[in-house]
Symmetry: C2
Subunit: 197 residues, 2 copies
DNA sequence: GAACTTGTGGGACACTCGTTCCAGTAGTTG
DNA sequence: CAACTACTGGAACGAGTGTCCCACAAGTTC
């Protein structure tokens, strides 16, 4: 075991983490070799030593971050599919956190989305959490159409939560999430049948 | 009437349009005084003459673009609320266009979203189409919760459409849109009741 | 016509950027 | 110890940046 390589790996990781912090704070446009190096407390050349180009650094950071998030989410989803009733509350709470406490993190995630729209090599990383959730839900025989609508709505609620004057609270989100997960009960309550739109 | 001012106003508008083209092509990060000037075919100093700073230029472009889109959309929505049946097809077609032919435009719109998440002065512009649609739907007494879910899902379908390997087609989108607009009929068809997730 | 306002556009300054070069250090292997 | 490898970090180059300055042209008003 080479001690040099071990320390190098640690520094590489520190650079990734610093990059994510910069993205959360200033957005992708705030990322430069120098800004990341400053954030990580390393000389400018370190960032070029470990990542051939700025693009490499960005891609490495965003895929790593997406992986982290996907792992983070998968447990939640299993719980939701298993026990929808308690799941609604947990999903709602998580959404509120994502547009509140972890706002910066969520913005970073959507910067990845947008970057992926222009760079094919990032697409699979951006879709990571979607794929993971879809996979987790497959054995439960969920209605695929409703499920796709549900996932789309999650993304929309987050994006719209980011541009609200203040982050939506749990009680703001709860009705919508509950409707999305158990639409039938909501519709029964209305005795309507269609949403009219 | 001052001929100088009129020509100036036209040039200002040309700069806005050039900026939007640059954003559609290269993203917000591709916008600089020089790149916009080149695109518009005007000298570099024109862009600083009409817009005090690059930030002003960006904000002016994005609010103008958002207004244009909102106007564009409002007609569609009225039709949808009036006649849901034919509306499904039109909405679906429009969505397919937005992730297909008008992909660049849609990406520009979501760059605005993300920028707005970091700059309060852009928030109202970013929410413009949401507000407009909500307003248009109000007199029809639409169930607000389902409607919010619907709008969120639209955003999500677009974003997810942007990061798909190939843009979703009309037939990909139709079932989901149809479900979102008339969930009861979809659920009846399943004879299930809940989506199970 | 002269005095003015409005728009034009070339040039330049100070700065940040990505990236490369390269001499030096610390750790590993023989 | 010597040869080698992995990493460090200062310095610099060329390119692009935002923004300001200023001489000038064109249109308007008196």
């Amino acid at each position: 075991m080479d001690g040099r390589r071990a320390r190098g790996e640690r520094r590489r990781q520190a650079i990734l983490e610093a990059t994510l912090r910069v993205i959360e704070r200033d957005g992708v446009s705030g990322v430069s070799h120098r800004s990341v190096a400053r954030e990580a407390g390393v000389p400018t050349t370190s960032t070029t030593y470990y990542f051939a180009s700025l693009d490499d650094l960005l891609i490495a950071t965003l895929t790593w971050s997406a992986d982290k998030l996907a792992d983070d989410i998968s447990g939640l989803i299993v719980k939701l599919v298993d026990a929808p009733d308690s799941g609604v509350g947990e999903i709602t709470q998580r959404l509120a956190d994502l547009v509140g406490v972890h706002r910066g993190r969520t913005m970073a995630e959507y910067e990845l989305y947008l970057l992926a729209a222009r760079r094919p090599e990032l697409k699979s990383a951006a879709r990571r959490w979607l794929d993971l959730i879809t996979e987790a839900a497959r054995p439960y025989n969920t209605d695929p159409v409703a499920f796709r609508g549900f996932l789309a709505a999650l993304d929309g609620l987050l994006m719209q939560g980011l541009i609200a004057d203040e982050p939506p609270s749990v009680s703001d989100l709860e009705p919508v999430v509950s409707y999305l997960i158990r639409p039938q009960e909501h519709l029964d309550r209305l005795r309507g049948g269609t949403m009219g739109a």
